[in-house]
Symmetry: C2
């Protein structure tokens, strides 16, 4: 970003897929050219209701299994956030990185956060949101591009690197 | 753009709507921070077959009317391109601006040109393509975001400025 001294808030939606981290790297390399940038990393953790629906057999999970799944979800969130923050650490232009993990449908989580924080640019991969996307069908990036008010940068991971 | 010396090719899809010119201005102000940038302005002119379909009465147009419409289409293309180039002229970072007018469905025209020119970033408004969009339904920006290989920046014009 260039052209003025205003602090820019860029939100990058990260998930467990490689594409969202590719989008983050691309953004760091190509978009951020001013120290006046606050980078927000956002991970949307699936809500418990969605985890129970995963079974698909009609059986309810025991509370033990539910808390194991809850723990697994939190571990994934931590791992994704750690990896994303490590990627940012190498970028000399970034002064401020803020990591956020929110629970819910990624479409709502992302759109709500963009509005709540007054984000200037939303950056995301095009396929993202792994099994969550497959569970819900439809593209998270398309939904967000249509529903947030700020500019949206959709970064696709080149196939040769997949 | 920042971080390396490679020449970056940015394609901005322009049309007769104000939103695409807003996207162009936003891109000039926020994205381009290096003189190593080639900016391509692309206008997709509706093909003749689409113009005849506009009538909707089943009557065929006479060749006089067709050439008048053809002329009108070219005038619109010229006006849009002039306006877009004037906007670029005020930007000190831009050394090279290339204007292109191509005939066809904007979705195909944009996606083909991105591939043909090896574009690094595609920039477009989110609603764009005026009556052409209404004739075809569906969002041009969604289609392009799904089908081009390069990163896509979709810029929405804030409602307060509409």
């Amino acid at each position: 970003m260039a052209g003025d001294e205003k602090v820019r808030k860029i939100l990058v939606a990260v998930d467990e897929g490689e594409e969202s981290l590719y989008a983050l790297r691309w953004c760091l390399k190509n978009v951020i050219s001013s120290k006046n940038t606050i980078l927000v990393l956002l991970y949307a953790k699936p809500p418990r209701a969605v985890q129970t629906a995963l079974d698909g057999t009609g059986y309810l999970f025991s509370s033990d299994i539910l808390s194991t799944m809850e723990k697994y979800g939190s571990d994934v969130a931590d791992r994704v956030m750690d990896k994303a923050k490590r990627i940012c650490r190498d970028h000399h232009m970034i002064n401020e990185v803020e990591g956020r993990v929110e629970c819910g449908d990624p479409r709502d989580v992302i759109c709500d956060m963009v509005e709540k924080l007054g984000v200037d640019v939303l950056v995301m991969g095009s396929h993202g949101y792994g099994w969550f996307k497959r569970a819900f069908l439809g593209s998270v990036s398309n939904y967000c591009a249509q529903n947030v008010k700020c500019p949206v940068l959709i970064v696709k991971k080149p196939k040769s690197n997949c």
